[in-house]
């Protein structure tokens, strides 16, 4: 196989939809980092747990899929609040090591508990965007539309729309509500936030809540691409999301989304051409992960603030 540009739209579509998922998980990372300058390594496992909640509510209890997703997002948000209150708030926010270790511990514990309850086999979870709804006129098939001679999957369109709606909602929460204003204030200057009467702990809990809900959303969207849910489903996704967050700038919400999408595109290039042409099929998946680490490394070395992160604009 050689360079084949006919498949260009294919990999762009795939890259954009995987990237949108990375962007969603990257948002979960950045929301917490912005407020605490702390990487929550349990982000992926919390998201996985959220996806399993959807599995239990929808596949086992028979609730409507979208209601299950909404409930799972609310429950993960509650779990996020609980974790902030009990496991991170007692520690000095200036001292990062204990809290980072706690999130790593959470990572292991949640993974083990999920493995114990659901074992490590992949369980099918209904794809929210498996087939076009009946009212959509058929233009190609019931799972895709033809664009530029390529198949644009309904799933991709669904992922983009979902992310767009979620981002819009996040924008409203952060820019139009008092809690959102308090969150931005705490992210900008914790001490001053306290001096205007903001309860910083509760506000960080609010950040954890939104982050956990976003993580759950990301996990549910990515599940169909992995064949379903399993306790290890988020391990590599978290690494791509971290790469996306680093690339976009760890304290930039918009950067997280764009960084995630860029990582998705880079990955799609590697899958489509790199793996085949350069190293042969065998090394493909290793190459993708290596690329994610390489992105993190390069960004941290040469532009620690990422593409859109703030290098402080303060004048004193």
């Amino acid at each position: 196989m050689t360079w084949n540009f006919d498949i260009l739209p294919d990999f762009i579509f795939n890259g954009l939809s995987l990237g949108a998922i990375y962007g969603t998980v990257a948002l979960a990372l950045v929301l917490i980092f912005k407020a605490t300058t702390l990487i929550n390594f349990a982000t992926g496992e919390l998201a996985m747990l959220g996806a399993f909640l959807v599995y239990v509510l929808h596949m086992e209890q028979g609730l409507w899929l979208w209601l299950s997703m909404a409930l799972a997002m609310v429950l993960s948000a509650g779990l996020g609040v609980l974790i902030e209150r009990t496991l991170t708030r007692p520690f000095d926010p200036e001292d990062h090591l204990p809290v980072v270790l706690i999130t790593l511990g959470l990572f292991l514990i949640i993974n083990a508990v999920a493995g114990d309850i659901w074992n490590y086999q992949v369980r099918i979870l209904t794809n929210p965007f498996g087939k076009f709804p009946d009212w959509v006129p058929s233009v190609g098939g019931d799972r895709f539309v033809e664009v530029f001679g390529s198949r644009l999957k309904y799933q991709s369109i669904g992922i983009w729309l979902t992310l767009a709606v979620a981002l819009f909602a996040l924008g409203l929460i952060l820019n139009r509500t008092k809690a959102g204003l308090a969150f931005r204030a705490v992210s900008s200057n914790v001490e001053s936030a306290r001096l205007v009467g903001v309860h910083t702990g509760r506000t960080l809990g609010f950040g954890w809540a939104i982050a956990s809900a976003f993580g759950t959303l990301g996990a549910v969207l990515v599940a169909p691409q992995l064949g379903g849910v399993n306790p290890n489903m988020m391990a590599t996704i978290l690494i791509y999301a971290l790469a996306g967050a680093a690339l976009g700038g760890l304290d930039s919400l918009g950067g997280a989304v764009l960084g995630g999408i860029l990582v998705g595109l880079i990955q799609a290039v590697l899958v489509t051409w790199g793996g085949v042409v350069v190293f042969g099929q065998l090394y493909m998946s290793i190459l993708q992960l290596a690329a994610a680490f390489l992105i993190i490394l390069i960004v941290l070395l040469f532009r620690p603030s990422g593409l859109f992160g703030t290098r402080r604009v303060e004048r004193v």
Binding site: S188, R194, V196, T200, E314
Partner: protein, 242 residues
């Protein structure tokens, strides 16, 4: 215990100790601010001025007693102290650099539940037109003087009973400092807002204050009315450059 200097006390601090780790920064301060009055604490760098204000707001390890009006706030949390009517403009302004000027003012009103927040924003925009012009700009992009105005306006957005000002003159040009202190004086005269100012710039501070204290190495070494301090040889030598 100190004798009550004023008829009506806005803030009363007794035997205030504060420490950072093993280092004791305040070693038993006693001072007062008259209700609707202005007190100033003068002192050199490292004397404990900033820590004094932080201790009042319970932002560091303290012992002693802090009374606001007739209410003991020694053990009250910082966020609750704000709700009781204490606004604190910290050293270095403490604005929110990544938030717009307008959002900085809105967050200042975080503790309020009334419907007049917008009116207050308009009012401060009228008093500080520079801020109004830069309403949508990020606070971090303002000049030092503008940031200080923003910090003061933000503090006043919570409609405080007591305003704590930490070296408001620091890093500002002389003309801007004069303008700022004139505004403080007007504010005190017109609204009766109680103020506690810590300063190195003794001239302007004593001009505005009705009572003053001198703090050295965490202890108050001198106190008196603003006029007494102005005429005190030690103060003149150390702070007024006479």
């Amino acid at each position: 215990m100190v004798d009550d200097v004023f008829d009506e006390v806005g803030l009363k601090v007794e035997n205030l100790h504060a420490s950072y780790g093993a280092v004791e920064v305040l070693r038993g301060l006693d001072f007062e601010v008259a209700a609707k009055g202005v007190s100033v604490i003068l002192g050199a760098n490292g004397a404990g001025k900033t820590t004094t204000l932080r201790a009042i707001c319970n932002m560091c390890n303290t012992s002693g007693s802090v009374t606001l009006g007739d209410e003991d706030i020694t053990r009250t949390g910082t966020a609750e102290i704000v709700r009781k009517g204490v606004a604190h403009v910290p050293q270095g302004r403490g604005t929110f650099p990544e938030l717009s000027v307008l959002d900085n003012l809105m967050i200042g009103a975080y503790t309020r539940k009334d419907k007049e927040v917008k009116d207050d924003v308009d009012r401060w925009f009228e008093i500080f037109p520079r801020l109004s012009e830069r309403s949508d700009q990020l606070a971090g992009s303002l000049s030092g003087g503008e940031q200080q105005m923003l910090a003061v306006a933000r503090a006043l957005m919570c409609r405080p009973r007591l305003l704590l000002l930490d070296e408001p003159s620091l890093g500002l040009a002389p003309l801007i400092i004069e303008d700022l202190f004139e505004r403080f004086t007007t504010l005190n005269k017109e609204t009766g807002l109680t103020m506690l100012v810590v300063e190195q710039n003794a001239n302007l501070a004593l001009e505005m204050a009705d009572y003053g204290y001198v703090i050295e190495s965490g202890e108050i070494t001198l106190s008196g009315t603003a006029d007494q301090l102005k005429n005190d040889p030690a103060v003149q030598e150390a702070y007024l450059g006479a």
